[in-house]
Point group: C2
Chain length 158, copies 2
């Protein structure tokens, strides 16, 4: 069962997705809701801003965080016109959102050539089996930054 309020939030996300197509942008929109009101909106801006990370959900999370002046969206929920890709789903975890509502599925997205299924498969592989080669180097030197961090009493934990 979805409530009238939930449907209204999703319809706003869908409206954002359709408006973006009129700007020749990707057909994706999202809104973040906290305490019954929209605190951030986003639509796909990858081609408009030359930013491959500017998916609707990421843009909405950034907007909500800027609006609420926090990097922690605990208690908020996202309404996305499409099931989140792995980047956006991970961003949703980092932002600590409490719930995800979506309309179109990732299979629907794949059918119009937005194929994040490939990325889901890649993430599940061992690093050495992935399509993009991954190589480790200089761990001994990099470890010093982690030691610095642990020794820094003024660090902002998150």
């Amino acid at each position: 069962m979805t409530t009238d309020a939930q449907q209204a939030f999703m319809r706003r996300a869908i409206q954002l997705s359709r408006e973006n197509v009129q700007r020749n942008g990707g057909p994706f929109g999202a809104v973040i809701v906290k305490d019954g009101r929209v605190v951030g909106e986003g639509f796909n801006r990858v081609t408009a801003t030359n930013d491959p990370t500017a998916h609707a959900e990421v843009v909405a999370i950034r907007a909500a965080c800027a609006h609420l002046n926090t990097f922690d969206l605990s208690g908020a929920e996202i309404y996305s016109s499409c099931e989140p890709c792995p980047m956006c789903l991970s961003a949703i975890y980092w932002a600590r959102l409490a719930g995800i509502h979506y309309a179109n599925t990732k299979l629907d997205a794949a059918a119009i050539q937005f194929d994040d299924y490939f990325i889901y498969e890649e993430l599940a592989k061992h690093p050495e089996q992935r399509a993009i080669p991954m190589r480790q180097m200089l761990r001994d030197e990099a470890m010093q930054a982690f030691l610095d961090w642990q020794a820094n009493a003024s660090r902002v934990q998150y």
Copy 2:
């Protein structure tokens, strides 16, 4: 075998990670290299800018794309002071980077309480089994955006 040039790029990423700790930010740095030169740099800005998506790799990708005026970093490689989290790894795929070099591992990161291993596990689950509840609704209405997209001859494919 790593080359002197590769080591120099990684040392720059490590330098960025250590400088950021001095600003009380997370111990992570990254650089993007194309045709033998650095085209974008990043360090973790989650707490500094209230942006949970501002991981070093994402910041570096955005910077490189802005610098090169493109959303497609084909042929470029990333040097990250730490193995990318699922959000950053997915962003690397979306940006079409050709290679990933990293120093600290995700286990090293987990040991200092940056636990993205949990997110890797979540991504591999079926949506209904994830810690953050996911619910589908209004697919019929959202599908119209995808039909709009397919009917729009001016769309910018990516």
